[in-house]
């Protein structure tokens, strides 16, 4: 038994340094960029559109804020009614996103792992909230949840009210953001090689442990991403919520509605202040999603 030292025990030394690899890669890509035509035209079109549709309009938002001044900004952004609006938006979006994380995992699991009649239809229906106009969803959910509705009517004798309460807002947001969690988790489960589960089972783990220790870590980044997307969308959602919320100040008035009503009073300055706070929050959420994704990809790289 002479040859017990593994053959590439010292392989670290043989590999080229990361720095070297990176330079090679960028050099190759740069060379490529000169070969393929259309750089100037496509960059020109892209920049023109981005400027006209996004950058110039968004810059007017900044302009308006600067004319508002710090004190004006703070008094508008931190007005008690506005703070209550943030709270309603925040809590309801959070609840809806959490509900969708749970059902997102279950639905994605069922759709990828089980075969049953109607599976394809169910799969196709998941995107309904993307396709159905939010106003239509809003009035339909209100009709279902109101005291005379199919579900609201059934719950009324138990003294449970859905429509015109925060529960109603959560229901609307759950509907709207469901596809975000399902559709981020589902492809990960589809791609996840069954061999990881088999490896766990071969080592004697129970199915429950295999899910907890092996599958769950694999889908956690997708769950977090789906959660972030659903939460961000929920914060900004307006159409489906206004009908079911009842819009009572301090109770069921969401932040986007506050912007809307300030605009209706032509109070552009205060509307801008509230909008900026919301933009800040959604930027933080987006940043969080990016961090999750880049961390996850460092594990999956082969």
């Amino acid at each position: 038994m002479k040859r017990l030292l593994p053959p590439d025990a010292a392989s670290g030394a043989r590999r080229p340094s990361r720095h070297f690899e990176d330079t090679g890669e960028t050099m190759r890509r740069k060379a490529g960029s000169r070969i393929i035509p259309g750089f100037g035209v496509s960059l020109g079109i892209t920049m023109t559109f981005i400027s006209m549709i996004v950058l110039i309009p968004m810059s007017f938002l900044a302009l308006q804020t600067s004319s508002l001044g710090w004190s004006g900004f703070w008094s508008a952004a931190l007005d008690p009614r506005v703070l209550a609006g943030y709270e309603v938006s925040f809590l309801c979006s959070l609840t809806a996103a959490l509900i969708n994380c749970l059902f997102g995992v279950i639905l994605a699991w069922v759709l990828t792992r089980y075969k049953f009649p109607g599976r394809r239809i169910m799969d196709g229906l998941i995107e309904l909230p993307f396709a159905l106009p939010t106003a239509v969803a809003g009035i339909a959910l209100t009709a279902i949840c109101s005291d005379k509705g199919w579900i609201g009517g059934a719950l009324a004798p138990l003294d449970i009210k859905l429509a015109y309460t925060r529960a109603g807002i959560v229901i609307a947001l759950t509907f709207i953001t469901l596809p975000f969690t399902v559709r981020t988790i589902q492809p990960v489960l589809e791609r996840l090689d069954r061999v990881y589960e088999e490896a766990g089972l071969m080592l004697g783990a129970s199915r429950e442990r295999v899910f907890r220790k092996i599958i769950f870590p694999e889908i956690t980044p997708a769950i977090l991403t789906g959660f972030g997307l659903a939460f961000a969308r929920g914060l900004g959602e307006y159409g489906s919520v206004v009908f079911i919320a009842g819009n009572m100040p301090f109770k069921t008035e969401i932040a986007p509605l506050l912007i809307m009503s300030k605009l209706e009073q032509f109070n552009y300055g205060e509307a801008t202040a509230v909008a900026l706070v919301m933009l800040l929050v959604s930027s933080v959420v987006m940043f969080f999603i990016n961090c999750v994704q880049s961390r996850a990809s460092s594990f999956i790289k082969e």
């Binding site: 035509p37 559109f49 007017f60 639905l107 998941i126 106003a135 279902i144 900004g236 933009l279």
Partner: protein, 276 residues
């Protein structure tokens, strides 16, 4: 399956899923149809063929068409430049493309009011030229384009990125020009993704509510889209009419969903045959 587990867990999970989907997705659709037809077919037909409904439908279609055409054009250019070249500021560019996704529709509307409205520095100029954007149809179209802006680009970028640039480089080395490369080499790979993203873009454009609501000014017959018309009817307690108009949108949504699934199925099939 080979690895047998507890047979009750699949049944429980499938049952839960089916009930959840029925309650959250199917029930609202059913309610729209039931409420729309609940007051009789005559009333339904009258609401659907009303002149205001027709005008709202007209504007909705115009805004949807504008959003699809402009965003497809932009999306192709952006996906090409981001995935085919490396240049300074590329990361910033692809982040900016996504901005409309992160912005609440209401804020999107607000942004256009600030840009073209009474308070804007551009306002005197626009007034002098007699151009009305806010509280008029151009504003509706702009707001719709804004909220659906990233759809095509977002869908195409990962597809092109995954494919790499080898084929385009090979074609370019053989002397092919931009349009030849795009048409013969790139387009066949992205056509399903493109179609798919156009469908999504159309769905979102058709149903946009928040942004459009802000810039519309609610002028019936002039700046109303179908979703706004639904809101007006609903707030006037004309529920049957509201649901009747809503049913048009619901049917459109179902058609779009079906189209989406057909496209996905076709793309999947093609991918399978290509692999072999």
């Amino acid at each position: 399956m080979s690895l047998k587990g507890n047979i009750w867990i699949p049944r429980l999970l499938t049952g839960t899923s089916v009930i959840f989907v029925l309650l959250t997705l199917v029930l609202p659709l059913a309610v729209v149809m039931a409420e729309a037809l609940g007051s009789g077919l005559d009333l339904y037909m009258r609401a659907v063929t009303d002149t205001y409904t027709a005008k709202a439908l007209h504007l909705t279609l115009a805004a949807t068409a504008a959003a699809v055409v402009l965003n497809t054009f932009f999306g192709l250019a952006a996906a090409w430049v981001v995935t085919r070249f490396s240049f300074r500021g590329k990361g910033v560019l692809s982040t900016v493309v996504d901005v409309p996704f992160a912005v609440s529709p209401v804020i999107a509307g607000l942004v256009f009011i600030l840009t073209f409205g009474r308070l804007s520095p551009l306002h005197p100029f626009l007034e002098a030229c007699g151009i009305k954007i806010v509280f008029a149809w151009p504003g509706i179209i702009l707001a719709t384009v804004f909220v659906t802006f990233p759809f095509v680009a977002r869908e195409l970028i990962p597809v092109l990125e995954a494919r790499g640039t080898d084929e385009e480089q090979a074609a370019a080395l053989m002397g092919a020009g931009f349009f030849t490369i795009f048409r013969r080499v790139t387009f066949p790979h992205i056509r399903w993704a493109l179609l798919y993203s156009v469908i999504l873009c159309a769905a979102r454009a058709m149903g946009e509510f928040g942004a459009v609501s802000v810039v519309s000014g609610h002028l019936r017959g002039k700046t109303n889209t179908l979703p706004l018309h639904v809101e007006i009817l609903y707030n006037e307690y004309r529920f049957a009419d509201a649901f009747a108009v809503a049913s048009i949108l619901a049917v459109a949504a179902i058609v779009i969903l079906a189209a989406r699934n057909v496209v996905e199925y076709a793309a999947h099939k093609e991918e399978e045959t290509n692999v072999r």
